[in-house]
């Protein structure tokens, strides 16, 4: 059986688009955000504690839409009702067992998972690696200023706040997504230290946006997938995935809602702001912290 591909990245890093593109490869199956490695037992995804935000309900949509599509072949409310029964029957299983069942169901296609919730914690990442020591791991990055700016434009930076990405400075607490950018990428780097070189690859999202026909074949060859023109043409149409649009009324999301509004890929050259420039979300003129700049330089972004 083909080993799955795990795309490890922060949200708002072209993750949905690139996962959607790779998922359209004829030998691959792009899954919605399953979040299965964030829980010990599947039932935990249905247990909203007092601490959970409203987003947790939406985090279940991915598994429901995946099951609906894989087993019923459609995205309808009836198929999602069936999916609810499917997960209820597996509520005491581990997230890893359920993921394995889904990956087996789409075999011989390569299962492609990108769940930004996984990278928040080293515990979740370790669960993935324990379950799949032979899998492929794609570390996807975006320029810290652009990624942070994008995060701050959605719900006043709600994502950054939800992961405690707060900078305490000069008598004020400020939401600052660069802390999440640094620490989450550090989580990923620490995991990848354990992964053999053959199984890991770092890709800058900007490079895929600018030169898809150079980057995608390289990724395909690394994964052992075809890189012919037909396969590349398929990958340039992520909008054709059943998960690229809003789902049925009882499982609307399972992916970034902004991506689902416009999943069509258009090649473009993203701007790279200087790493030492003031940050657009900081009213005090603060810049990227030295640790963040150093890490960004390692990823190939420049001053």
């Amino acid at each position: 059986m083909r080993q799955p591909l795990f795309i490890l990245a922060l949200p708002r890093s072209y993750t949905s688009l690139i996962a959607g593109m790779l998922g359209q490869h004829p030998q691959a199956y792009g899954l919605p955000e399953l979040n299965l490695f964030t829980v010990d037992r599947l039932i935990e995804m249905w247990q909203d504690g007092p601490d959970k935000t409203g987003m947790s309900r939406f985090q279940r949509h991915g598994i429901l839409r995946a099951v609906a599509q894989i087993y019923a072949g459609e995205q309808s409310s009836a198929a999602v009702v069936m999916a609810n029964h499917w997960v209820a029957a597996r509520q005491s299983r581990s997230g890893m067992q359920v993921f394995r069942e889904i990956a087996d169901a789409v075999s011989p296609l390569m299962a492609i998972d990108k769940s930004p919730a996984h990278v928040v914690s080293p515990v979740f990442l370790q669960r993935i690696y324990d379950a799949y020591p032979d899998a492929f791991y794609l570390h996807l990055t975006r320029h810290p200023t652009n990624q942070g700016h994008s995060v701050m434009k959605i719900q006043d930076g709600g994502y950054a706040l939800s992961v405690n990405s707060i900078d305490y400075c000069e008598g004020e607490a400020v939401i600052d997504p660069q802390i999440a950018w640094h620490d989450i990428n550090l989580n990923i780097l620490e995991l990848l230290e354990k992964v053999p070189p053959r199984q890991k690859m770092h890709v800058r999202g900007e490079d895929v946006m600018a030169e898809p026909l150079q980057c995608l074949p390289r990724i395909c060859r690394w994964l052992g997938l075809r890189d012919d023109l037909e396969a590349l043409e398929d990958m340039l149409h992520p909008e054709l995935s059943p998960f690229a649009t809003v789902g049925p009324i009882n499982a609307l999301f399972g992916n970034d809602p902004n991506y689902m509004r416009d999943p069509v890929f258009e090649s473009h050259l993203p701007k790279h702001p200087p790493l030492r420039a003031p940050l657009p979300w900081r009213m005090d003129g603060a810049c990227l912290k030295p640790e963040v700049q150093r890490m960004a330089l390692e990823f190939g972004y420049s001053h």
Binding site: G49, D51, Q75, S76, S77, V81, V120, S121, P122, V123, Q155, D156, G157, G158, L161, V163, N164, S165, I166, Y168, G171, E172, A173, V174, I175, Q178, I179, A180, H182, D183, I184, L186, N187, L189, E193, T245, V246, G247, P248, I249, N250, L252, P257, N258, M260, R261, D262, V264, K289, E291, V292, M295
Partner: protein, 128 residues
Amino acid sequence: MPTRNRLGNISAPSDMLPELPPHLQVLRDDLQKRVQASRVRHYLDRELSHLSGNREIAASVRLLFDGQGRPSENLSLKEIVRFRQKIETDIQWLEAVLTELRSDLAVIRELEDAALDVADIQRTEENC
């Protein structure tokens, strides 16, 4: 790769965050209040724009439409109505099941109490 330190507490679940010094905790609480207030303000702005007769109802659910304003093919009005009816039926069904389960539980508790009473009497008789 050299060991690097983290800048924050990204990976700590919110109920397991390390305790902040009081002055930082005050700053954090204040930040959360400000963000919440900002969200409420944006929500009210949107609601008021509806009231002003602009008929921008779609704006509040715009995430359900694509970039050209078209609804997803998975989300027809017919499907939404059918699902609403199903939810109403499910609620009636589950309420009936809940009533039945509560009734069964009450009966079982009665039986348990009766069995314990009998066991108590037997134990007392054996001790005598």
